[in-house]
Amino acid sequence: MHKKTQSNCYRVITPEAKINLAACFVTLWYYRELIYTLFIREIKIRYKQTILGVAWAVAQPTSLTILFSIIFGKFARIPTEGIPYPIFAYSALLPWTFFATAISFAIPSLVRERHLIMKVYFPREIVPLASVLAAGVDFSVAAIVFIIMILFYRVSITIYILWVFPLLIIQILFTLGISLFFCSINARYRDVRYAIPLLVQLWMFATPIFYPISVIPNRYRMIYMLNPMAGIIDGYRRVIIRGIRPELRYMLLSSVVSIVIFLLAYRYFKRSESEFMDVI
């Protein structure tokens, strides 16, 4: 493991050492320019040689919204607490797509960039981190459509919309946690790569995207809410569309779960680094 002090100057490498997460964050700050460069590279190459380019970022949540609006809104008539179904679906599909895209890109990222990390040293968590950040660009583009929908449906915005920022931070921490954990496993067992699409699909149904949280019976609610994405998505819906404050106990639960998962995953990633670098 690496120990660094005085920026990049003095370095001791030993097989096993206590992982000091605080030091890891300091190192990341030192490498901020590389994070930026890899982030830029990721978004540059993502839509190179495509015609629609970044419009693809809008395509996924929009097409799903249209489909869900017809099936669940018109035909199945799923209750939406009085919100028009298209914006009800899009408000969830937007952050969900961010999460799904981010983990689908970040989990195989280390293997994808194998040639890079085997040739030069830098903290490897930068690679999945850059993937997650790049997915954030897609998210921002798709958010423009959301703003148009808000204006179209005349959603009244309240002060509670400021909750969006802490919600985003929790979501990004959770995304990073999932990415780092599976990234490290994928470096050793490529099975993970095949499991991602399945995981994303199952997870989407376990998250209140095309149905409201209220359809979950009360006695199962707490178990259901252990999925941080449930609390986060419900939070977005409440603070943006319904203009009310989020359910605080769900918020607290999602935050705690997300932060714990992030810290454990980061620690696990650093611990397994020496092992997966040998076999990646």
């Binding site: 003095y10 320019e33 540059k44 190459i45 085997m118 040998d278």
Partner: protein, 419 residues
């Protein structure tokens, strides 16, 4: 002077997947035991089977002082690249401790991270920051990088349309502008066309001579001698020898001839060894002055030899070389074509190699010639004729000169006008 790189009892072990029975199931068991408090006290994790591991490095201890240039020599698979990757921090030791002081620049393989879909310009920024330059630094050196790469207007084209040579030039040009305290180089000089090869060699020499700490892995022994002031010989993951490059290379060569499967050993009275994949069939000494008797030549006159070889199959990148020994057996001169424009990409069948010098700079005496053909990169000697061809040098007018060289010279004189 302080040491800037220090290895303390470094061991590096790799798992051999073909021998290993370590599976996901075992990993889960292991994980289960790690989190089970009972095993925290017992510390009995599953026993590692010795067979399923390979020790790439064994008890490596050395240090590199500030400003030193260390060459690492060894056959393929000796652990050279593993060692370099450990210094760079890319992989971790299994046991031991590595200390490095200063900004590291690793050139383990140039061009890692260059992306085909991006333009040359974008790749300069990308690759530059990957190897540790700041954006500001790249911006400042950008013009110079482009100039060195000779890419000109192609710099704004996607790299996937570049030729292999152009891509290498791009990577090398960025690397050469990195300004680290410790530079790690692994086999990077084999790039581009002849012209660029010499240019990059020159640039490399400049960096090394500028007093940077350099750790250099190369199969090219000539470059190790010229760049480094110390060398390590690795064999099967252990340090066999450490010392001046000349000494270490001599030892390396002698060990090679001991370990090689030698078909040609002991044929005839001369000392000869090699695999025989390329066989030196005949060696003839050449001299300008035909009137003098065979194997006796005049100092300062043109001299050379002509060598006939035969290769049963196609052999890639062979190096032909020679050395001249004095009557005590010491090398007075030696060179090979592996580091020159005349180096060969492959040989097949029969052929002739001719070596000439316009003026033999040896004083009168008895000498013998060694000729060889090898590929030290692969650790193979094809054929080696050690001090097999004796010859004598005579001087036209003996007693006129002293010393260990014979220079073709003249004296001129011009008187200045008296005032």
């Amino acid at each position: 002077m302080n040491s800037v790189v220090r290895f303390e009892n470094i061991y590096k072990r790799y798992r051999l997947w073909s021998m290993s029975t370590f599976t996901l199931r075992e990993e889960i068991t292991l994980f289960g035991r790690r989190i089970n408090p009972y095993f925290w006290f017992r510390r009995s994790l599953p026993r590692e089977k010795d067979k399923s591991y390979f020790w790439a490095l064994n008890d490596i201890n050395f240090e590199v002082k500030n400003g030193e240039a260390l060459g690492i020599i060894g056959a393929n698979g000796a652990g050279k690249t593993t060692l370099l990757k450990l210094i760079a921090g890319i992989i971790y030791p299994t046991k031991g401790k590595i200390i490095t002081v200063g900004r590291l620049g690793s050139v383990i393989e140039m061009g890692a991270g260059i992306h085909g879909d991006l333009t040359g310009r974008e790749n300069i920024y990308l690759y530059g920051s990957i190897i540790g330059m700041s954006r500001k630094e790249i911006r400042q050196k950008f013009e110079s990088i482009v100039e060195f790469s000779e890419l000109g207007r192609f710099i704004d084209e996607p790299v996937k349309y570049y030729s292999a040579g152009m891509e290498m030039r791009l990577g090398f040009s960025v690397t050469i502008h990195l300004n680290p305290d410790i530079l790690l180089i692994d086999e990077v000089l084999a790039v581009g066309d002849e012209k660029f090869y010499h240019k990059s060699l020159e640039a490399m020499t400049k960096i090394i001579k500028s007093g940077k700490t350099v750790i250099f892995v190369s199969h090219n022994l000539a470059s190790i001698v010229s760049f480094c002031n110390r060398a390590l010989l690795l064999e099967k993951g252990r340090i066999i020898s450490e010392g001046s490059p000349q000494e270490v290379i001599l030892l390396y060569q002698s060990r090679l001839k001991d370990t090689e499967h030698l078909k040609l050993q002991g044929t005839g009275p001369m000392k000869r060894w090699g695999t025989g994949d390329i066989e030196i069939k005949k060696v003839e000494l050449l001299q300008d002055n035909q009137w003098i008797q065979e194997n006796r030549t005049l100092a300062g006159e043109g001299w050379g030899f002509r060598l006939e070889y035969e290769a049963q199959q196609r052999i890639g990148a062979p190096v032909f070389g020679m050395s001249i020994h004095n009557s005590k057996g010491e090398v007075v001169y030696g060179e090979n074509n592996g580091f020159r424009e005349e180096r060969l990409s492959f040989v097949k069948g029969r052929g002739i190699v001719v070596f000439t010098t316009p003026s033999l700079a040896l004083p009168a005496g008895r000498y013998s010639l060694t000729v060889y053909v090898h590929n030290l990169g692969r650790g193979i000697i094809y054929d080696w004729h050690e001090q097999a061809y004796p010859f004598e040098v005579v001087e036209n007018k003996p007693m006129e000169r002293v010393g260990q060289l014979y220079l073709v010279s003249s004296w001129e004189h011009q008187a200045k006008e008296n005032q």
